[in-house]
């Protein structure tokens, strides 16, 4: 255990995480709205996760911040909490999540496309509204997405036994000429980022218990962003989806990236499309107050999906990350003359100095090989490359 981890009880560490989560929604305690937490001495493990009972205090009037914070907590995956608003005790016991097996870890759902635009050369960004996934998704997980639209499925059902087949009308076009007569298999796409609605819910007028419940029906985490690399028919077809169209989604699936409780520093190395899952990871690490260095590599500036250009949500992604305390280093072979793995090697001593550190990497195999060549005990792409 590192000195800091040893000093801090687990609950306090998680409270720091919660505070970070609150800040990520733009919550700062205001004068007069005495916002605070108190963790009760009830910490227990459930399904490998710490669960604890804590209380939230707000001032005499429930402020927007307090209400939003409640929602943030609702998305924070700890099943048991109390809210104390002024003198009114609003107790929310999510007993199902604490005592039982919890809600299904995945669902088959329809998600509305809320954003669809090229992210950079050869990449496309899709944002869908999908609260059931957004609430529970963890870094490293993915969605299984149908590339076939409902209209195509209907056409298929109507004409499947006719000799021409359902895609006959498309035969003239170049790429679809080879399209199978069958709906394409689902495509696995990494969860790139999780976001809240741009418009926050209205402030709660009074501290009545039911108010929280109503607001909790609109939790903050509702949107899932995907970064598609346009190779192959499936991704191309997904990139054609327009705003207000629907995606058929199965997820979240896959094993989340394990983040050690006592981790102090993290180095996240993404090559090319490897940024797709690692952006989410970097944000989660920053939320947990883990010092995060994000190295992003691409062949050239045009192919850098997280650039200094405004991103899908009209915000410069790299600077947004920096604002959250993530040290971002963008590396392109064409302009900088080094690959991201070489940059890591250049900065290795500095990056690995001090504290308990883990390396998370995702990218092309040569990059992974180079990143881990200084360590023999490389396990798999997803496994932490090692602890120092």
């Amino acid at each position: 255990m590192s000195p800091r981890a040893a000093r801090e009880p687990a609950a306090a560490r998680w409270l720091r995480y919660l505070a970070g989560l609150g800040r990520s929604w733009g919550l700062e305690p205001k004068a007069g709205a005495e916002l605070g937490f108190r963790a009760l001495d009830q910490v227990w493990m459930h399904q490998g996760r710490p669960r604890f009972l804590f209380q939230i205090f707000t001032g005499p009037d429930v402020t927007l911040e307090g209400a939003l914070l409640t929602e943030a907590l609702a998305t924070a995956r700890y099943g048991y909490w109390e809210v104390i608003a002024g003198d009114t005790l609003c107790k929310f016991v999510e007993s199902g999540e604490v005592a039982g097996p919890g809600p299904p870890a995945r669902s088959l759902t329809r998600a509305e496309v809320v954003f669809s635009a090229p992210a950079c050369r050869g990449h496309h960004r899709l944002v869908v509204r999908c609260p059931s996934v957004a609430r529970i998704a963890q870094p490293g997980q993915f969605l299984h997405i149908s590339c076939t639209t409902e209209a195509e499925l209907d056409a298929f059902a109507a004409s499947k036994n006719r000799p021409t087949g359902w895609s006959g009308a498309d035969l003239a076009t170049e790429r679809t000429a080879k399209a199978p007569h069958w709906p394409l298999l689902r495509r696995p796409m990494s969860i790139h980022r999780i976001a809240s609605e741009t418009t926050p819910p209205a402030p709660a007028p009074s501290p009545v218990p039911g108010q929280f419940r109503r607001l909790m029906d609109h939790p903050c985490r509702t949107q899932v962003a995907l970064l598609l690399k346009l190779v192959g028919l499936g991704a191309r077809r997904l990139a054609q989806r327009q705003v207000a169209e629907w995606l058929d989604i199965l997820g979240p699936l896959g094993t989340p990236v394990p983040i050690a409780d006592d981790l102090e520093r993290a180095i996240v190395i993404a090559g090319g499309i490897g940024i797709a899952p690692l952006a989410f990871l970097a944000e989660e690490l920053a939320l947990r107050n883990i010092e995060t260095h994000l190295l992003v590599g691409a062949r050239d500036r045009e192919r850098l999906p997280i650039g200094v250009e405004p991103d899908a949500w009209e915000r410069p992604l790299a600077s947004e990350f920096r604002a959250r305390g993530i040290a971002v280093d963008l590396v392109t072979e064409a302009e900088d003359g080094v690959t991201v793995a070489e940059r890591f090697e250049q900065r290795r001593d500095e990056l690995l100095a001090g504290g308990r550190v883990e390396i998370f990497a995702c990218g092309p195999r040569p990059m992974l090989a180079r990143v881990c060549c200084w360590r023999s005990a490389w396990r798999a792409e997803w496994a932490p490359a090692g602890r120092v």
């Binding site: 149908s146 069958w182 298999l185 199965l250």
Partner: protein, 317 residues
């Protein structure tokens, strides 16, 4: 409307089955409503000892109207299956109905003796209704399809499993043979209670730019609608050769596909690749099947088993 059928002494609520390897041991499909409308599930093939399978990078490739897979019988082994998976499976709520969901365990081995030992180990375990004997996996070098490609070897494995346990024995046949009817006859004479067909058709896809096979394991098994006509013919040929009930499968998507297999001679029909696309296919198929039978004026699916009449030799009026 009766969709219930009887297969190797087991009553199935519907003729819809989930083919081996799709549903795993059920964990991955929890909460998705996949079992609705399903009469029986065939679990992912198990072997005596755990097996890591083939090269993990790229085990599936989409192909026109289908997919290639090369998993290589990755599984957790018999002991872990019995300890960790079976208790959960036997307690499924679908098992507590009047006609419970049937659980069929698929088994494989490198030698005849391994098949027999595995069957003996599973004998008497509550929650197992039948054994599917996988003598047709195209993705392992030893064992696997070698048994399914030779009538004597297929019969030998069937006989060994038959005498090692009292469960219904259902060999699964490969289409990658010259005469599938001969293999079917050999299995029937060796004591099989039903037959399951077809396993995947062996195939290969090449990335022409790198001159490398697209599958990590180089070769694989083709499934999906691409193989359905081939599967329907094999079911017909086997139905003509033996009197055993048949589980037909290969590229089933909807109710019409199911009825195609049934009329070719299948008593039950497996759904496989389609579940990867839509985990709720079985429910939709059953709804479609009821509508289709109603449209055809049929009250019961059983009279339609093997009802196909060939055009050949028919008088033209």
């Amino acid at each position: 409307m009766n969709l219930s059928v009887s297969l190797a002494g087991l009553q199935l609520a519907t003729p819809i089955m989930i083919a081996s390897g799709i549903w795993g041991y059920g964990d991955e499909y929890t909460g998705l409503g996949t079992l609705e409308g399903v009469g029986a599930v065939v679990l992912k093939t198990i072997t005596l000892d755990p097996c890591v399978g083939n090269e993990p990078a790229c085990r599936t490739v989409e192909t026109p109207s289908g997919m290639l897979n090369s998993i290589g019988l990755e599984n957790i082994g018999a002991e872990a299956f019995l300890a960790d998976k079976l208790p959960h499976l036997r307690d499924l709520p679908e098992r507590r109905t009047a006609t419970p969901l049937r659980i069929i365990v698929s088994i494989a081995g490198d030698t005849v003796d391994e098949f027999a030992r595995l069957a003996a180990r599973l004998e008497g375990e509550a929650g197992i209704d039948a054994l599917e004997v996988n003598i047709s996996c195209p993705n392992v070098e030893r064992g696997g399809a070698l048994f399914g490609c030779d009538a004597n070897a297929a019969a030998e494995v069937t006989r060994a499993v038959r005498s090692a346990c009292s469960l219904p024995v259902i060999p699964k046949l490969t289409p990658n043979v010259t005469d599938i009817a001969a293999i079917a006859r050999a299995c029937a004479e060796a004591g099989a209670d039903a037959l399951s067909l077809i396993n995947t058709i062996s195939g290969m896809a090449i990335d022409v730019r790198t001159q490398r096979p697209r599958l990590g394991g180089d070769f694989g098994g083709l499934s999906g609608p691409a193989i359905r006509p081939a599967a329907v013919l094999r079911v017909y040929q086997v139905a003509q050769a033996v009197s055993l009930p048949i589980i037909g499968m290969g590229g089933v998507w909807d109710a019409e596909d199911v009825l195609e297999f049934v009329e070719a001679g299948a008593t039950a029909v497996g759904v496989g690749t389609a579940l990867f696309f839509d985990p709720q296919r079985p429910r939709k198929i059953v709804q479609g099947l009821e509508a289709l039978l109603r449209e055809m004026g049929a009250e019961d699916i059983r009279p339609l088993i093997g009802a196909v009449r060939l055009n050949r030799g028919q008088q033209i009026d």
